[in-house]
């Protein structure tokens, strides 16, 4: 198996001793088919045990290892060394505060995710005796793509509007709201609209589309957001221009 010496420029920040970040250079011998996460682990095991970063599944399903790799938000386990001939610059995901080294504080995203109520809401619960909520493949298709989200927050790092306006609820949380709105078992769209159809919700989005470009699992949050804008506009017309508020 062929080896290659990889040059890494890695962002370091120690909250106990530093007031700003700095870059540390590592030179590490890797196998050709490795990913950036493997290189970081080799650095941690053989060169510098103080390097901190999050990771878990190593297969792009847990969403833990999001980082900026040469300026692009990527999953470190999903970024192959063979695509990077030169020095690889590794930084924590932008638009989030840095706890230490490559570890970010995703608190803002977690709070916003909770706010959009990403769970089935029923106005009337079906009694157990009536059995399961049945769903056809057609009904599943309406929301399946948006359910693929692994909460990796690469889209938040890519979204310039989130970077400029911290109150923006953001691509993933809004796409997940849409996922539940589209689910035939859900009856909670009106509740979610109070959160989503606001200045900090879908209306902060200007359809840059960066979120969908960086999503590792092809959720396409941009499409969810535009669909919600169109639906919310029709809602607004119904509520404000039709007699009785369209009810």
């Amino acid at each position: 198996m062929k080896e290659r010496v990889i040059q890494l420029e890695v962002f370091r920040y120690n909250p106990d001793t530093d007031t700003e970040g700095h870059y540390q250079h590592y030179e590490v011998s890797c196998l050709e088919e490795w990913v950036v996460l493997d290189a970081l682990n080799k650095v941690k095991e053989t060169l510098d045990p103080t390097l901190n970063f999050r990771w878990s599944c190593h297969m792009a399903v847990c969403g833990s290892c999001g980082m900026m790799i040469n300026g692009e938000p990527k999953l470190a386990c999903h970024t192959f060394l063979r695509n990077y001939p030169g020095t690889i610059r590794v930084e924590p995901l932008v638009h989030f505060p840095v706890e230490r080294d490559l570890v970010t504080a995703p608190d803002d995203f977690m709070e916003k995710l909770k706010r959009v109520k990403p769970y089935i809401i029923r106005k009337q619960k079906q009694p157990i005796e009536q059995g399961e909520y049945k769903q056809t493949p057609k009904e599943l298709l309406r929301f399946r793509q948006y359910a693929m989200c692994i909460n990796c927050t690469l889209c938040y790092a890519a979204c310039p509007e989130y970077g400029l306006t911290k109150h923006f609820i953001g691509p993933a949380a809004l796409a997940l709201a849409h996922r539940y709105n589209q689910d035939s078992r859900d009856q909670g769209r009106d509740e979610r609209q109070e959160v989503v159809a606001t200045k900090e919700g879908i209306w902060e989005c200007t359809f840059v589309g960066a979120c969908s470009e960086v999503c590792p699992v092809h959720v396409d949050p941009a499409s969810a957001l535009q669909q919600m804008k169109i639906a919310s506009s029709f809602d607004w017309i119904k509520e404000h221009l039709l007699p009785g508020g369209g009810k």
Binding site: V195, T198, K199, W203, S232, W236
Partner: protein, 114 residues
Amino acid sequence: MAKSNKPVVWFPFAAGGTVIAFFIPVIALLTLMVALGKVPAGLTYEGMHSWLADCVLAKLAVLGIVALSLWSSAHRLRCTCFDFGLRMDTLVATVLYIAAIVASIAAGVYLFRI
């Protein structure tokens, strides 16, 4: 936070963007030809008068295209100003939307004088 009234400005923006996409390139091409000295028959005074002068439907269609395109450009320019770092959004929005409305009213007045 209360539901936003953004649809009021966004819906015409979306409609206008569609109108711009379908109509403005070809219209710009026609006036580019005029600029290059080759006035197409339909763009002479007689040509324009013939289909606009007495047809209310034609006037409304032209007004629709011009007004929606103006509004869509104004809204996009508002967002662009914000993206460029100009943060006084309320001021920028007011100036741009009023400009679009004034220009649209002018277009309407001119059209009905033809």
